[in-house]
Symmetry: C2
Subunit: 282 residues, 2 copies
């Protein structure tokens, strides 16, 4: 079955959907996006994603062309039409199309979303560790906005891949901020640390769920910054995102991290996350 | 006559041209662009623009799908088809369309350009001054790449417009870098200063032409940084871009600059630029 897209209220095959050359998403990165995970034919943490979308859009003064409730309804209907066992919704909102000019035009925003199947992630206890490399954080200072101005992230990710690693960690003035498409956590003893949300850190939804679940697994949490050296010497390090859930870190700049396998706290957190997912998408 | 576009080798009405939703220019700001001025049916400084395009593309590892010579030939033919007295070519190159993933895909780049008529700029001696406001430079650190990740520039420009000004000046750690869509210069005595090209400053083509022409008008030039306070107390301040040429600055954060009219050195520079334009596009 070919992939479908909802675009400005119409549903069509994804391959047939087209946007105009002067859409500001194409010429100015003037837009925001969300990626929502589907499990068992249901969207996980959909409301949290839609709340973040509303905040991102408001911060760059784009008005959603439908109400949040209507958008939620459209997404739920869309997913029900083709209930994927494992998948995601990619959603994008741009300021719309108008003759090219930096000034905000008076035009109708472009809103679209489509679903895509993903491979199931499998048993957390058998998951593979990831390799990180460090890159300088050269991004702008409003990374809390989930904008489509992702070129710096794309370049960082590909630097990691070219080095034989899986993900790039941004270091800003000596401090670990986040990765090119994931948040990063370290565990020291029974303490779970991650950088506070702000200029250099996106409020990841998986990040928020884990900060909520951590105390139930015996960890205390701190939204505190840490250096690369502190991270490399932590007991456990992991990264999170909507599509990857949790990936434990095996190496950082080719230095082995922790025990060389998925640490017990990371595993407990992943199991708690899976329970939350199962409960919400049963 | 409706506007035309050249897109991946085909010419069609601009309004008919469409790009795919998964073009990386739309989802990742994964592309670069140029704006070239047309005078008297001819492109001004076309080679300099194409050289900069090649550098921008190389820096983010996008390969032009045609040779520079071929592209130049296509642009010249396109302009000749509808020779605008005053206009511009907007050109954009993206990595192309592929299923969304930060990793560089194996796909064909999207290359397009279109022409648009512009109002003639009129006599420099009768030009209007512009009003500037200061904004914090929150952009990424590779502004020398002319990328389409322009959201920070769009937000800065609109902050200026909302404040009743025309353009926003970025200040990075106390230093004046450039504006949201223009380079900035100050004149003190017989010295012309502008920030060096680099992490926070685009190598503007009009900027380069003026640095070359300045000595012929009796000015010495320095690619040196200066503070907002130094700029506000300069004898003359002006901004430059391909579409605006030179605009003298009347006010900065509502403070009057210089004499309240276009200064003599700025005027002499603008006249020298006009001569260069006339010579190249006769």
């Amino acid at each position: 079955m070919s992939e479908l897209i909802w675009i400005n209220g119409e549903i069509m095959p994804l391959g047939d959907a087209r946007i105009g050359v002067e859409d500001r998403g194409f010429q100015f990165a003037d837009g925001v996006y969300e990626v929502v995970r589907i499990y068992n034919g249901k969207a996980f943490t959909l409301d949290a994603h839609l709340q973040r979308l509303a905040k991102s859009a408001e911060s760059i003064e784009i008005k959603l062309p439908v109400s949040g409730t209507q958008l939620r309804g459209e997404i739920v209907k869309f997913i029900a039409r083709n209930p994927l066992a494992d998948g995601m919704i990619y959603l994008q909102l741009t300021r719309g199309a108008a003759p090219r000019n930096h000034a905000f035009p008076d035009c109708k925003p472009t809103l679209l979303f489509y679903a895509r199947a993903l491979d199931p992630l499998g048993d957390p206890a058998k998951s593979q560790g990831v390799r990180l490399i460090t890159v300088t954080d050269e991004r702008w200072k409003r990374c809390w906005i989930k904008s489509i101005a992702l070129l710096p992230n794309v370049l960082a990710k590909n630097k990691a891949l070219a080095a034989g690693a899986d993900e790039a960690v941004f270091i800003d003035d000596g401090v670990v901020t986040e990765c090119s498409s994931s948040n990063i956590f370290i565990i020291r003893g029974r303490r779970l640390l991650t950088h506070a949300v702000g200029p250099k850190v996106l409020p990841g939804i998986t990040r928020a769920v884990l900060l909520e679940l951590a105390p139930t697994t015996g960890l205390s949490v701190g939204e505190e910054s840490f250096s690369e050296d502190e991270a490399i010497h932590a007991d456990e390090v992991f990264i999170t995102s909507t599509t990857r859930e949790i990936s434990w870190v095996l190496q950082w700049n080719q230095i082995p991290i922790g025990s060389g396998k998925c640490g017990p706290h990371t595993l407990a957190l992943h199991e708690a996350l899976r329970k939350r997912i199962a409960a919400e998408t049963a």
